[in-house]
């Protein structure tokens, strides 16, 4: 009888109930909130559901040494997490993004590229503020990239510059990407006048196939010659786009933008969620990172909108740009462009800004990858 009781006692010690702490429960609740937001509000469900569920998996209280936790070397989750730690999931996602992105609106109106550049200011403002709060430059760089509103880029950079903060940075980046429809509209309204919001832009011209093919090749050469450290992201982005635009590699393009990107999204979301183990995640730094991420995002959106207003000072009547597309300079594709469209339509039901906003939006993807390359080059 004693033996049975001892075994039961031992079994109880193995269970999650015996090992649970309030931090585990808190993180599991946050995971459930993420899943709820994804299902009820439909905010970035493709990301929030894997991340939210990953948070639950990662915070099941474990008996140490079972070799199942994500930080236990050789466990299944740890092997899957390698793609995040070593930074090879983000370039694969960029391959898919390249294969699904149509750069025609950018090619037809290349000055929209500059908006994508201006919106990266959020990254460096957050970098400066993080430094003043006492973060090391490498950690500050990784935190700043949240303002790029690009989850894969944030994971890629933080895995190199600040692996300890990666969980918090990735969760922060994806959370703010999901909250794009909530965060951006008030800033856009605040910084624009009613007259500016009603500006009608010239419809984009037709872009020839040759231009679309030249774009990824020239884009790769120009950007990576200037910032070679951005090669993994930029190389894959432009390669994916060439697969799409060449017209002769349809199967490869479909795989890259379909099954491949889906598989990697599942793995990256789940493992990033798992990496938020309570003991690693629930720290003062994580709260600071969330605050700095929000600030970075707000500055990036503001910089984009204000830069359009600045550009308009030099543009002729008829060529002016609606500043409501300035928010799209952050690279949350295509959510921020959709926000431009919705806010624009709320002021003029026939003024569709979506195609125009896609220009700075995809420029933001390039811009944030370049910015990540610069930070990596200077701080790694």
């Amino acid at each position: 009888m004693d033996q049975i009781l001892n075994n039961l006692q031992q079994f109880w010690e193995y269970t999650g109930f015996a090992n649970a702490t309030y931090q585990h429960i808190l993180m599991i609740c946050i995971g459930i909130i993420f899943i709820t937001m994804a299902i009820v509000k439909e905010w970035e469900p493709l990301l929030l559901i894997p991340i939210g569920f990953g948070m639950i998996i990662g915070n099941i209280p474990l008996f140490a040494g079972l070799n199942v936790g994500i930080y236990e070397e050789g466990s299944v989750l740890n092997i899957l997490y390698n793609g995040v730690q070593k930074g090879w999931y983000p370039p694969l996602i960029f391959l898919g993004i390249g294969a699904m992105t149509d750069f025609s609106s950018l090619i037809s109106n290349p000055k929209l590229l500059l908006i994508g550049a201006a919106a990266q200011f959020g990254i460096f403002a957050a970098y400066a503020i993080s430094l003043s709060l006492g973060f090391e430059p490498s950690a500050a760089g990784a935190i700043g990239i949240i303002g790029g509103a690009d989850g894969p880029t944030a994971i890629f950079l933080s895995s190199r510059l600040a692996p300890d903060l990666m969980g918090a940075i990735a969760i922060s980046a994806y959370s703010y990407m999901a909250l794009v429809p909530v965060i951006q509209p008030p800033i856009m309204r605040l910084l624009t006048t009613k007259k500016e919001r009603l500006i009608r832009m010239k419809p984009p011209r037709v872009v020839s196939r040759m231009e679309k093919i030249v774009f990824p090749i020239v884009g790769l050469l120009l950007t990576t010659f200037i910032v070679p450290s951005g090669l993994p992201l930029l190389g894959m982005l432009f390669f994916g786009n060439l697969l799409k635009e060449s017209g002769v590699t349809r199967r490869l393009a479909e795989t890259a933008r379909g099954p491949l990107v889906d598989i990697v999204t599942i793995l990256i979301g789940l493992t990033v969620g798992c990496s938020t183990q309570a003991d690693k995640f629930l720290q003062l730094n994580s709260i600071l990172i969330f605050g700095l991420g929000a600030l970075s995002f707000i500055v990036a959106t503001s910089a984009g909108v204000l830069f359009v207003k600045f550009m308009n000072l030099f543009l002729k009547q008829g060529n002016k740009i609606n500043p409501l597309i300035g928010n799209s300079g952050v690279s949350a594709v295509p959510d921020s462009a959709r926000v431009s469209e919705n806010v624009g339509l709320s002021y003029d039901r026939s003024n569709h800004l979506l195609m125009h906003a896609m220009g700075p939006n995809v420029a933001g993807v390039i811009g944030s990858a370049v910015a990540a390359g610069i930070l990596l080059g200077f701080l790694s």
Binding site: L131, E211, I226
Partner: protein, 310 residues
């Protein structure tokens, strides 16, 4: 053209081969040596012997197994570095040490000559003829003094190496860097030079803008060229017509509308929605197959035995 294509492809292939080769063994350098060892480091057998060091300058692991070491230009294959020894794999930017004690039976890293009897040291590739690096040994080197590259891997190398970049080192450093770095990471140096991050912000924003401005300029130019070409084609088509169209002024939406109209016209039969409401029943025909045949049934139906049989 096909004839030339063969030559071009062959050239590319050869270049590719060279570049593959270039990423491996050619990254190896003789880096430091000590000729007379009386009071310096001891080998695993507790003996003081001359030694030399090879440095992998590359960022990939290089297996030195199968390469040759020699002190005789007439006999490049004097000592063969054993293959399939895991210790002969030199990690990126790492060193490997050989003892020049003329006792090769003591292991892979003990060569069959000494430096005291040599005028030069040669590292040859596994093909036995390509000299990867060589160094003339200094005659006036004192005991326990080492001669090496002042900065690891830097200086002349290869067949015609003239010892540029080499010198007597202030201390011996087998299997470690000859030139000590200050040990500070880039991040730490950045913290010292730019504590508030403003220099970084200005510099990085400038680079981001530079990259995207260059893209803007290129695509502004290519856009104009593409438009001019398309315009020329359109003008040629419309040369007999009075009114010419400007492609630059025509939006993609217009072309999309025209394309849709043409598509609907060309596929007129597909646009009769009413046909979807008509129910069509094709003739039902049961094809014969042994699988569906009762005659060829796989299972025999059970039969009742007649009472008389009992």
């Amino acid at each position: 053209m096909k004839k030339y294509l063969k030559f071009i492809l062959a050239g590319v292939f050869v270049l590719f081969q060279l570049s593959l080769y270039g990423q491996s063994m050619t990254d190896l350098r003789l880096n430091e040596l000590l000729i007379v060892n009386t009071d310096d480091y001891q080998d695993d057998f507790g003996e003081h012997s001359g030694w030399f060091e090879i440095f992998n300058t590359g960022y990939g692991t290089v297996d030195i197994g199968g390469c040759y070491l020699s002190n005789d230009p007439e006999n490049l294959k004097k000592y063969t570095i054993p293959r399939r020894d895991i210790l002969t794999r030199i990690k990126p930017r790492q060193h490997i040490l050989f003892w020049a004690d003329n006792k090769p039976y003591r292991g892979s890293f003990h060569v069959n000559f000494t430096l005291a009897e040599s005028s030069m040291l040669i590292l040859t590739s596994s093909d036995g003829s390509t000299i990867l690096d060589m160094v003339s040994l200094p005659l006036d080197l004192k005991p326990n003094e080492s001669y090496g590259r002042l900065v690891d891997g830097e200086g002349s190398y290869g067949t015609g190496s003239d010892n540029t970049g080499w010198g007597v080192l202030s201390r011996t450093s087998p299997s470690t860097n000859n030139h000590s770095l200050d040990g500070k990471s880039r991040s730490e140096r950045m913290k010292e030079t730019d504590p508030f991050g403003w220099i970084m912000a200005v510099m990085a924003m400038s680079v981001v803008f530079l990259s995207l401005v260059m893209l803007f300029l290129v695509f502004k130019g290519t856009g104009n060229i593409a438009l001019r070409w398309s315009q020329k084609k359109a003008d040629a088509y419309h040369k007999n017509k009075t009114k010419k169209i400007s492609l630059a002024e025509t939006s993609g939406e217009t072309f999309a509308a025209i394309s849709m109209a043409l598509h609907l016209y060309a596929n007129e039969t597909e646009v009769h929605d009413i046909e979807n409401t008509i129910l069509t029943i094709e003739q039902v025909r049961r094809n014969y197959s042994p699988w569906s045949s009762k005659f060829h049934s796989m299972r025999k139906p059970p039969e009742m035995r007649k009472k008389l049989d009992r």
